[in-house]
Symmetry: C2
Subunit: 315 residues, 2 copies
Amino acid sequence: MNPNAGSPAQSDPLPSWNNGASKQAIIEYVAKVTREGGPDFMRPEERIATFDNDGTLWCEQPVPVQFAFALDRLKALASAHPEWKETQPFKAALEGDLKTLAQSGERGLVDVVVATHAGMTTEEFQRIVKDWFASARDLRFKCEYSAVVYQPMIELLTYLRANGFKTFIVSGGGIEFMYAFAERVYGIPPEQVVGSSCVTQFMMGPDGKPVLMREAKINFVDDGSGKPVAIYRYIGRRPILAFGNSDSDLPMLQWTAAGAGARFMGLIHHTDAEREYAYERAVLGSLNKALDEAHAHGWTVVDMKRDWKRVFAFD
Amino acid sequence: MNPNAGSPAQSDPLPSWNNGASKQAIIEYVAKVTREGGPDFMRPEERIATFDNDGTLWCEQPVPVQFAFALDRLKALASAHPEWKETQPFKAALEGDLKTLAQSGERGLVDVVVATHAGMTTEEFQRIVKDWFASARDLRFKCEYSAVVYQPMIELLTYLRANGFKTFIVSGGGIEFMYAFAERVYGIPPEQVVGSSCVTQFMMGPDGKPVLMREAKINFVDDGSGKPVAIYRYIGRRPILAFGNSDSDLPMLQWTAAGAGARFMGLIHHTDAEREYAYERAVLGSLNKALDEAHAHGWTVVDMKRDWKRVFAFD
């Protein structure tokens, strides 16, 4: 798959990317770090690539997928929690009042996630999430959520792996939520998924078999400055390539950039209201400081409208 | 390397193991889970193998290697901490009074580790640990610590990987301490090392480059019931094979055993005072309840004296 080794007639590894600066930057980077004996060569074990998930690998609008899951769970569990009808942020969430819900801030969103993701074993949680994915549909595109992944990014993941990279997700989303689809959708196995987590307890189940019980308590939030911390704790190496789409990815990109040797930092810029969404300053996914830094340091800013021939496989 | 595929004349993949029940159990297990179409076949991605480190992959007597490191660091840092001369457990540690130190319990041991492992960046810590490994010598065998690894276990790791297993360390030891040697000594890359961790903060260093700063605060203790919790959080799959040597490995073995399909649970029993050590009820590494469970459930108990032809490569 090394683009230097093939003939000019070889097939394009990134067919959903328009020819232009972003695609060229990716291909040139991969070529130089895989060229044995070249000045920028990186050994395969150093080829660690980390990707944010929401807004980087799949669509995060109008609400992140995990939050859509939490809202559906809240409705399913509401009859057992009559108090939710009178208490914010649950009242707003049950009524679909996203504006009031957003006003409750990160704290309110976390409350809804925690209330709907705890009190079951890890195996039960996997079953619940998988069942939900089978029936839930994206609000705008009316397809399964696993279809609102960005086709150009799937091609990029495949291309990197074909060139000896190990691809990781490093997301603010829940790690166990991602376990339910990351391998099937992205080809990324659970041991290469890094995310936020709740406290889990090992205990003996009623049948005498041990279980891991999920508690309504945050263990770690893998967002912002938590991302490089988690990368080091999970992967133990500094990525040489990282992709994000918001200010909460900036520390990951900064930490990637600060390593020795050739580095690649990429940002997805959501500029395509027609095929996807155009946003920079949403409640979640705000892109502000990271965009300034990308321009200042020459990181690759992928303009979705300009750079992607197709956004989704169904386009 | 599939033992079913080769001729009888093929070389022994476990030459440092005596022929006997333990070696036979390992070889039969690997054969049956790798036999395509067989009733016990496990797909390669399911072949997750987890190993405790201290006392399972290398020697943990008279004190675990990381604790020897902590004691050396304590001496190196003592001049900047005159208060340690008057305060336990530091006083006992500095005086080499291991008995008094042991009486301070796990809390005392943790205090010494935390005091000597914090207040530097993750990169500085890696340098310190690597430098220490280059000069430190095992108290009894007078060799580098990286030489007191069990040769039969190195062969087992290699044999498993040759049969499509992914090998992980799941240790109560510090994850960053293990990053410094796991790949070189065991062939296990940092992204397959799970261990205890301290709180780490992302911040801008004096040169404007971001660093990860190690704080004197425990983040997670990967021991006992923490091991299955960490396995799920780091690996996201249940191991099909696990090896430990003490009661603190029992939850990992129980959780491994409780999965569907063919499983392998192994315990190293330290029975060889001549070539290594003989112990069951040490302060660290107590093997009591786990041994009873192993016998009750037919897990493989490796008797070091009986089962291992060689203990160390230098034997």
